[in-house]
């Protein structure tokens, strides 16, 4: 295999593995804020026990997230050096801002969140939990700024020619709020909330099925299902907004997502199907006019098809189509699962419906899969560009790195990440089997002191 293919596989594999963890940190971060907040408000020590239990899970995901995240920052320079020279002026700023504003906040207050339980008072501890969650969200902000600039570049100009051409900032805030940034940010964050809340839901449903830690499980489900329902519904809204943005900013990507070749008014929305690239059509069931309606709020507006683009400027249709529809399908299934769970929980009959509890146990995989597929769709759909319209992916490679070197690092990461994943699953399972600590029902140290008002 050549350097290009190997570097693409390496980047894809390392970022996909990394992205198991940040959504959990962001989502569990929010869950921890809610749980600890509920404890401070109600004084019910069950919430304290929940916060303590999920903090341990949080610590586990956070450690692997940090360890695998450094790899990403290095890989732009190691494998994509020409890209780094081209975008450093713009893209580097976002990464540096992420370090200053997000990582320091997150890792600094994480110390108090994890180890400060007996050392600081309730309010300061809660403040630290909030800062960790805020840091995790800031991190999402800057990384989505950087990635969205690659999708919809703005606030820059090109200086120099040929080998020495590069993008330089002209307007910082235009760069930050580039056309796709806000929609994609909300979509990414909702995806992270789904990941965190469904993990809580899944583990709690498992305890109900096994008849263990019942009170703990019910309280966790209450918080978990509420966040799950809200974030899955918001996810549909933010997804819709993102797709409307695509129509304006990256029409080739939208056309590939829908397998739409001819520009048509009354464009159909494919519900289930498979793209037939040879005959330039989609085999499956579609809703006529719906794509036009969703993008323009009008059944008769035309939607741009792939044939408007030269073949060398089109993204690969089949993978884009499948990743996108996979994500949407899972997204709507999760809305249904969260709604059913919430409904029966409110009725107080959830524990009798074992089939639904089993679905909830496995629902944890849904957001993880959808998050992965969503990013695959976003990145594959941007092809053949590494920076949309400005630089093609092969042009971004490092000039001096050879295929055998990339192959050896790819093998190295595959081995390390397989080991990490195995240990992660083993320890997570261990934690879940062990369950919440009864000792956590009684706060100790300074936390035991009542809050002064």
């Amino acid at each position: 295999m050549d350097v290009l293919t190997l570097s693409r596989i390496q980047f894809g594999a390392t970022i996909a593995f990394h992205y198991i963890y940040p959504p959990l940190s962001i989502g569990l971060g929010i869950m921890l804020v809610l749980m600890e907040g509920a404890w401070l408000k109600t004084g019910n020590n069950l919430y304290h026990q929940m916060a303590r239990f999920w903090t341990k899970v949080f610590a586990l995901t956070f450690a692997i997230g940090v360890a695998t995240g450094i790899v990403m920052e290095f890989e732009f320079g190691t494998n994509w050096a020409t890209y780094s020279r081209f975008v450093g002026d713009v893209f580097g700023s976002a990464l540096a801002a992420e370090g200053i504003f997000a990582f320091f906040l997150e890792s600094g207050f994480l110390a108090v969140l994890l180890f400060g339980w007996d050392k600081v008072g309730r309010k300061l501890h809660f403040f630290s939990t909030c800062m960790v969650a805020l840091g995790a969200h800031f991190s999402a902000v800057w990384i989505v700024v950087a990635n969205s600039w690659m999708q919809t570049p703005a606030g820059y100009h090109i200086v120099g020619e040929g080998m020495h051409a590069r993008a330089e900032i002209t307007e910082f805030w235009q760069l930050v709020f580039n056309p796709s940034m806000l929609d994609r940010l909300f979509h990414t964050i909702c995806g992270a909330w789904c990941a965190g809340s469904f993990l809580v839901v899944s583990v709690s449903a498992w305890y109900l099925l096994k008849g263990k830690h019942l009170e703990f499980a019910r309280k966790s489900l209450k918080v978990g299902l509420t966040v799950a329902l809200v974030s899955t519904l918001l996810q549909a809204v933010t997804g819709h907004k993102s797709a409307q943005g695509l129509e304006k900013n990256q029409p080739a990507k939208l056309a590939a997502f829908e397998g739409l070749y001819e520009t048509t008014s009354n464009a159909p929305l494919v519900l289930v199907g498979w793209p037939d690239e040879k005959n330039e059509k989609v085999i499956g069931i579609s809703a006529p006019g719906m794509l036009s309606f969703l993008t323009h709020n009008d059944f008769h507006s035309p939607v741009i098809g792939l044939n408007e683009f030269k073949p060398e400027d089109r993204p690969p249709v089949t993978p884009s189509f499948l990743f996108f529809h996979g994500m949407v399908g899972i997204g709507f299934t999760l809305i249904a699962v969260a709604s059913l769970g919430f409904l029966y929980f409110r009725k107080g009959t959830l524990h009798e419906r074992r089939w639904l509890l089993w679905i909830l146990v496995f629902s944890v995989l849904g957001p993880q899969l959808a998050n992965q597929l969503g990013w695959f769709a976003a990145e594959v759909g941007r092809q053949p560009w590494i920076v949309y319209g400005l630089m093609r992916t092969p042009a971004g490679l490092s000039a001096v790195v050879k295929a055998n070197v990339v192959l050896s690092s790819l093998i190295l990461f595959t081995l390390i990440y397989s080991l990490l994943f195995a240990v992660f699953i083993y320890l997570l399972n261990d934690k879940i089997q062990h369950g919440p600590d009864d000792a956590d029902l009684i706060p100790s140290g300074k936390l035991a002191l009542p809050t002064k008002n």
């Binding site: 320079g77 020279r85 450093g88 002026d89 580097g92 540096a96 320091f104 050392k119 900032i169 001096v400």
Partner: protein
């Protein structure tokens, strides 16, 4: 020396990397000393002495990397693609080290803890060695072609002088970590660490003397600026006094002051390094005209200006809460339910 934006960013990247060396330096050092004891309890105390802070310390490296990317993209691109294999090894070492801290305490089995203890310690030593060797290569000079691309090989990076800088870095961090450990522990482990710290100080002094001699003999350009501006010799003098003060304070039982002297040693060493490579960021050998400097490798003045605003807002806040967090976790380590 005119203080323009490029120079300010050279200093800022230097400050971030120095912050990394001072802070992560002691927890890498603790890692290097981790296997010196084989008692589980003592290993736990050592691990928990850095438990709340190691993660934040590592962020200095991440942010330093980000700042290098943003301010000097050509340096970032050339160094990272040129040092490819070395950096992949560094990443592997940093990953094992980080997850080992989190994983170790999760199971009581002896083999499990031993496995992660070895990962933690080897990861720490290899990280220090590679970081030092990379710095040594920048000092010695690396082949760069007319396009600003690295033109050497991986094995070429492992020449004696850079390796000597690598070993010196390991010694420096071990000394720094041992003194930190002395401050954070009590009882039997405290006495052991005191003994190791003395050994580490001797190890470091031998390395430092050897490194100074070989720099003056074989890498004259790394002393050029101080030679031309004799008043800068005060930095070298400060460095020597800081080193000499470590065993002195240590002998009088002023562990805190010994640690501050150790910090001052790192800061003055980094300052000497920066003074002598300036304005180069990657010194090209054998063709110095191909060197990447703070001017030909930098981002646009506009970006450097924007980034400076970001740094002026962000860095004071970061320093303020980092100090608070170190304050909350001051004093000797006590193992409890939350400990590793």
């Amino acid at each position: 020396m005119h203080l323009d934006l490029n120079t300010i960013w050279f200093i800022l990247v230097g400050v971030l990397l120095t912050g990394y060396a001072v802070l992560d330096g002691f927890d890498l050092g603790i890692g290097a000393l981790h296997l010196f004891t084989n008692k589980d309890e003592e290993r736990r105390v050592m691990l928990n002495s850095i438990g709340p802070v190691w993660d934040g310390n590592e962020v200095w490296l991440v942010t330093g990397g980000g700042a290098l990317f943003a301010a000097f993209p050509n340096v970032y691109a050339t160094a990272f693609s040129g040092f490819y294999l070395a950096l992949m090894l560094l990443l592997a070492a940093l990953i094992f080290r980080a997850v080992a801290i989190e994983f170790r305490s999760k199971r009581p089995e002896r083999w499990w803890r031993q496995m992660w203890d070895v990962s933690f310690s080897v990861g720490s030593i290899v990280s220090s060695l590679l970081i030092g060797t990379a710095l040594g290569n920048i000092a010695w000079g690396v082949p760069v072609d007319a396009n600003g691309e690295f033109a050497g090989t991986f094995l070429g990076l492992l020449s004696p002088y850079p390796l000597l800088v690598g070993v010196t870095t390991v010694a420096l961090f071990m000394m720094h970590g041992a003194i930190y450990g002395v401050m954070k522990t009590e009882g039997e482990l405290h006495d052991k660490l005191r003994g190791w710290a003395m050994g580490c100080i001797i190890f470091f002094v031998i390395c430092a003397v050897t490194l100074t001699m070989s720099t003056l003999l074989y890498v004259p350009h790394m002393a050029a600026r101080v030679r031309e501006n004799p008043w800068l010799f005060s930095v070298a003098l400060a460095n020597m006094l800081a080193i000499a003060n470590i065993p002195r304070e240590f002998h009088h039982g002023n562990d805190g002051k010994a640690f501050l002297s150790s910090c001052a040693t790192i800061v003055t060493l980094m300052a000497l390094f920066a003074l002598n490579i300036f304005p180069n960021m990657i010194y090209s050998l054998p063709n110095p005209e191909n060197s990447l400097t703070i001017y030909n490798a930098a981002s646009s003045p506009k970006t450097l200006g924007i980034m400076l605003v970001i740094a002026c807002i962000g860095v004071p806040v970061v320093i303020a809460y980092t100090v608070c967090i170190y304050w909350i976790f001051r004093g000797k380590v006590k193992l409890d339910r939350m400990s590793y």
